[in-house]
């Protein structure tokens, strides 16, 4: 028996599909002409709007999911952490996608508070908020879920394939740390506080991905229940974020051909949609708990 996806989740993924169709058209234009104009326009206007609206949806549903639990219940703290993480991602997206972007409908530019040039500090604060800060909060929230599932005897043993995947994550993180060490000891470059904080992103992402593998193995693997799909979506969001991070790293090192690199940028839309879908499933599960009755089913025969 597979429970239908809630309406909110269907809306989110339909919106993503529409954005992807528009993005694909812009990508085809880029391949044919070599001009980034259409891609930049898609990412600046519908892309930014989608990012902010979907993250705002996540904040709203995470708030509602938090309200489903009493203060003494362990999942209340978990959803508080997830809500705070979503708030950080929303404020980060607002800073990086609109308030500091040189776009015509940026309110701060319109009312002449900011110069049209991208203010670097505000942008960096946005990146820190939506990066390491949001990741640390989410990692703490997911860790609580793992502890709770372990307490209830629901935590499955990881398979050798999971072990290989975790080993690959750790290798990638090790490679990133080597790059950081190269900057620290090799180049003797002047470091900023923001830069140092951003270095925590990769280890945090590795931790998140290990948690996601564990959650996926024990919950998503369970089947198609609403609660299972809630945590499955959260794990999927982490996986997309990690994939986006790997693509960025590969792009920086020139491992991805220029023609196909714009395709990798779309992965962030998948990540934000998966994160927003998770609390939608939790709220839908609680609603389902209050709906239906065995008396009615029995009367129907």
């Amino acid at each position: 028996m597979k429970a239908a996806a809630p309406k909110s989740v269907r809306w989110l993924w339909t919106a993503l599909s529409v954005l992807l169709i528009v993005g694909l058209a812009a990508y085809i234009y880029f391949v044919l002409t070599g001009s980034y104009d259409a891609l930049v326009a898609v990412f600046n206007i519908p892309g930014s709007t989608f990012f902010i609206l979907v993250t705002a949806t996540e904040v709203y549903y995470a708030y509602r999911a938090r309200g489903l639990f009493e203060p003494a219940e362990p999942m209340r703290a978990t959803w508080t952490l997830i809500l705070l993480s979503a708030c950080c991602r929303l404020s980060g997206a607002a800073f990086t996608q609109t308030l500091t972007a040189p776009i015509s409908w940026n309110l701060l530019v319109t009312v002449k508070i900011l110069q049209p040039e991208r203010p670097q500090l505000l942008h960096s604060i946005g990146v820190v908020l939506s990066g390491p800060v949001a990741m640390a909060l989410l990692a703490a929230g997911l860790m609580r879920v793992i502890v709770l599932k372990r307490r209830l005897g629901l935590l499955s043993r990881l398979t050798p394939l999971d072990g290989c995947f975790i080993a690959a994550i750790l290798l990638f993180t090790g490679r990133q740390l080597m790059d950081i060490a190269g900057v620290l000891f090799g180049d003797h470059a002047r470091l900023t506080v923001i830069q140092v904080i951003l270095w925590f992103s990769d280890p945090l992402l590795a931790l998140l991905l290990i948690e996601a593998v564990s959650i996926r193995r024990s919950v998503l693997n369970m089947g198609q229940g609403l609660v299972a799909r809630c945590w499955g979506m959260m794990a999927l969001g982490v996986a997309f974020t990690s994939a986006g991070d790997v693509i960025l790293w590969a792009e920086n090192w020139g491992y991805i051909p220029v023609v196909i690199s714009p395709l990798g940028w779309f992965i962030w839309f998948f990540a934000v949609t998966a994160f927003a879908s998770a609390p939608c499933y939790q709220v839908a599960a609680a609603r389902e708990a209050h709906e239906g009755s065995y008396a009615a089913r029995r009367a129907r025969g």
Binding site: F69, E73, L152, M222, A228, E288, A289, H290, Y294
Partner: protein, 126 residues
């Protein structure tokens, strides 16, 4: 001789098996004002409920057990249901599956939603 007799009487008073051991802490008889307190008391009672009592067949418990399997499937999926069934290791009539499922519902859906599921499970009983 008197000293030996006293030792013998003391030894005989000692419980010789787990069944003879004193029952664990029992819930207070006071009013239950919050769901958390109710959950704590229920937790104490369910630990106190011995396996022998669980395995007594009860028709209504069996019906509730069948219903709870459907709810577990809806919220957690097929594998979770099988895992819970495996952990309970008994037929639906024993009621152990209800207790395990209730713990899952409380943990992952919250007390209010778990109570709503429980109300549904026990509704329309003769």
């Amino acid at each position: 001789m008197t000293w030996l007799h006293r030792v013998w009487v003391r030894l005989r008073r000692r419980p010789t098996s787990a069944l003879a051991a004193p029952a664990p802490e029992q819930p207070d008889a006071g009013p239950l004002t919050s769901p958390a307190e109710l959950e704590r008391v229920l937790g104490v009672w369910t630990r106190w409920w011995t396996r022998g009592q669980c395995e007594e067949f009860d028709e209504q418990l069996a019906l509730a057990g069948q219903r709870v399997e459907g709810e577990l499937l809806r919220f957690f999926g097929q594998d979770a249901l099988q895992r819970v069934q495996g952990a309970c290791g008994a037929s639906s009539g024993s009621g152990t599956i209800l207790l395990t499922a209730d713990r899952l519902f409380v943990a992952f859906l919250g007390t209010r939603a778990a109570m709503a599921v429980t109300r549904k499970l026990y509704s329309n009983f003769r």
